[in-house]
Amino acid sequence: MARPPTQFPQFSSVGDVEKRLSEAGYLPDAQIATTVFLADRLGKPLLVEGPAGTGKTELAKALATATGAELIRLQCYEGLDEARALYEWNYKKQLLRIQASQGTDGADWDTVHDDIFGEEFLLSRPLLTAIRRTEPTVLLIDETDKADVEVEGLLLEVLSDFQVTIPELGTITATRRPMVVLTSNATRELSEALKRRCLYLALDYPSAEREREIVLSRVPDLAPGLAEQLVRIIRALRALELKKSPSISETLDWAQTLLELGLDTLDEAAVRSTLGVVLKHASDQDRAAAELRLN
């Protein structure tokens, strides 16, 4: 498979990835940094899979910031189709054009036909937009597992050749390959063919040390001792097999909450009163209260 030659590697080494992502406000671990580096170097799409709230979307955003690229986002959902993902003809405008030309006698069928299938009437959706851009681009295809299987087929075509064929206009090939990040919550197994074309990155909850660093970098006013305590409690909560384990963003919310409330230690009362920030199912809250002896 010949790759369009116009993608320049954005990162010089794994260390460079680490440094620039950190500057963009995302602290990568060795696995994330290595995989991002390879995705950039080999020009392959990056498939990020993991539970909700482990920073998958955040990674794509940080990548865009770190490389000075624009983020184009395709949010997948059930029923997403070509017209929403790739392109669509603006038929209302086309109809208007036809009606407008009806009065004049010089408009024969051919000119009208050529006219209404031109750039002016094309509605570009995220995939086409990303391919046509000449500036650096990060294409984020979010929650790929939510889309129907047919969309995967479409992605396969677009991601392997980075070109789109529009029957009326011809084939549009990427002049500058976008960096592609796909995310998935693993609610459904993506097809083997799609996975084979991507580099696979399984994201899990971060180690205690890294999570503490994340908390301190995002909520810098929090006392380090409190951050340590917070992260330990979060880890204890994750070990409980809840319906929904607290995510990184919820850890950050919690840290922010503690800061706003001016609490300087996390005792039973403090945890009990703010538990709603991290646990959002009544059964989870009951369970955590019982297991952590909050009462």
């Binding site: 010089s12 080494s13 390879l38 899979e49 609610t187 197994e189 945890v271 909050l294």
Partner: protein, 478 residues
């Protein structure tokens, strides 16, 4: 600007080594295609080969496709790219010298009995666990295996055993001292203690993993890594037998089953939505055509009436299939959250409806304990009696099964030599729209001993369902 050390790949050299590794990964049950193997070779030219972690993560990015494969992969990677790449030493003591000079070793180099040594190392371990420095803990594990893990030397070479290390160090007995160290006075009993316990658990697990990894590494150096790879690699989570799942597998398994349950629910709801386009809604189409100058560009349709599937789950919750029933109950729970038409029944030697324990949002583990406590599933001696259970079910809930109902029976069909109640089952199957029986026992054991599975198999579609993979297969054919 790729890595400075790019060795020319020659057969038998780095490329051959990679090939062996890829083969081992495949043998462990992780499907690796040819294109992925090629990609893996490309990775070698891009990453810094002197950085082992880069290589590990880089190869993982192309070889793996699911998070569950990672533990297996890590074990194999450690075997193929061992930490200290010393040349394979000839069997005997001579090869161990290369290990010398590690920090902390000299302080322990005391002549003395094994008991003294173990005592000394326990003290050091306590301090390390208290600090929680993972790197130091790993170094300690390597030393501990070297000092305490030796088995009897045999002609086939030196053996190392993790149980010897763990017995000598008995890290579990350090818990109370660790808690005392981590907790301030007065913190006992409450939140702080629970959190500290979790921290201790994590660190002990890390220690155990480090010791096992080191034993594997040493054994591989002595006896060849292929042998170790065969024994050391645990089955992938979705291949673990429901009936033999250990408590350490349970959490893994639950994670494997959770998306499966969601997928099943999504599948069924997709079925329901199929053929969403009903008859043409004339009025709506005409209204919409006003926006396009009276040309009906988009047609609108009435929604089709949805067929509401009804599902009746009959689940054996006796002790012999406890591991299995837990997961099927989890499936039931997931289905309950999407359909109102799911009714769950549990039985041991009598049957009771347990639907009420599976309110949407309820906790599965809770439901399981409540079934044991509150449901009327035991009437006689607490051993499975399928015949009686089916009769009670048919008696008390004759209306539960109708022409729209799918019936799902979950159990091993071991009747303790009591009458199996075949006519009742046959009647239930006849009255239902479709009926399946999931059996957690291997097919070859059906009909052996007190199993009536083969006889049930004549009246109902019986499916072998021993692990999550087979469950997934069943779900797709449903």
């Amino acid at each position: 600007m790729s890595a400075p050390v790019v060795p020319s790949p020659e057969p038998g050299g780095l490329a051959g080594h990679l090939d062996g590794f890829v083969r081992a990964v495949r043998d462990a049950g992780i499907p690796v295609g040819i294109s992925q193997a090629v990609d893996a070779a490309e990775i070698l030219t891009v990453v810094d080969l002197l950085d082992r972690e880069q290589l590990r993560h880089g190869l993982a990015a192309v070889l793996l496709q699911r998070a569950a494969q990672r533990p297996t992969y890590d074990v194999l990677f450690d075997l193929w790219w061992p930490l200290s790449d010393r040349p394979v030493a000839p069997a005997g003591e001579g090869g161990e010298d290369g290990e010398g000079g590690e920090p902390g070793e000299s302080t322990l180099d005391l002549p003395g009995s094994d008991a003294d040594l173990a005592e000394l190392m326990r003290d050091q371990l306590l301090q390390l666990l208290m600090d929680g420095d993972e790197e130091a803990l790993r170094r300690f594990a390597r030393l501990a295996v070297e000092r305490l893990g030796r088995g009897q030397p045999s002609p086939s070479g030196q053996s190392f055993f993790s149980y010897r290390v763990l017995r000598a160090l008995s890290p579990d007995t350090l818990v109370s001292q660790l808690l005392a160290g981590l907790l301030a006075e007065g913190d006992r009993g409450g939140l702080a203690e629970q959190v500290a316990r979790q921290t201790v658990r994590e660190r002990l697990a890390a220690l155990r993993a480090a010791i096992e990894a080191e034993v594997r590494r040493r054994t591989a150096a002595e006896k060849g890594r292929d042998k170790v790879a065969k024994n050391a690699v645990r089955p992938l989570a979705d291949q673990v037998d429901f009936l033999r799942a250990q408590s350490s597998d349970l959490a893994e398994l639950r994670r494997a089953v959770a998306p499966l349950a969601r997928r099943l629910a999504v599948r069924l709801s997709a079925r329901r939505r199929l053929g969403r386009e009903g008859r043409l809604d004339f009025r709506k189409t005409v209204r919409a055509s006003l926006g396009t100058g009276g040309v009906p560009v988009v047609t609108h349709h009435r929604p089709r009436k949805v067929h509401k599937p009804e599902l009746v789950v009959l689940c054996d919750v006796s002790g012999s299939v406890a591991g299995f029933s837990h997961f099927t109950l989890m499936l039931t729970q997931a289905l309950r959250e999407h359909f109102t038409g799911v009714r769950a029944f549990a039985f041991v030697d009598s049957t009771d409806e347990v639907t009420r324990f599976f309110r949407p949002g309820a906790d599965v583990a809770d439901a399981v304990t409540r079934i044991g406590r509150e449901a009327d599933v035991v009437s006689f001696d607490g051993h499975s009696d399928y015949g009686n259970a089916f009769e009670v079910f048919a008696d008390r809930w004759p209306a539960a099964i109708g022409p729209k109902t799918s019936l799902l029976v979950l159990g091993d069909g071991r009747t303790n030599y009591r009458p199996p109640g075949l006519p009742v089952v046959a009647d239930m199957v006849r009255r239902s729209r479709s009926a399946h029986w999931l059996n957690p026992e291997p097919r070859r054991l059906w009909g052996s001993g007190d199993s009536a599975a083969d006889r049930y198999g004549e009246v109902i579609d019986m499916v072998e369902c021993r692990n999550a993979a087979q469950l997934a297969e069943f779900v797709t054919t449903l």
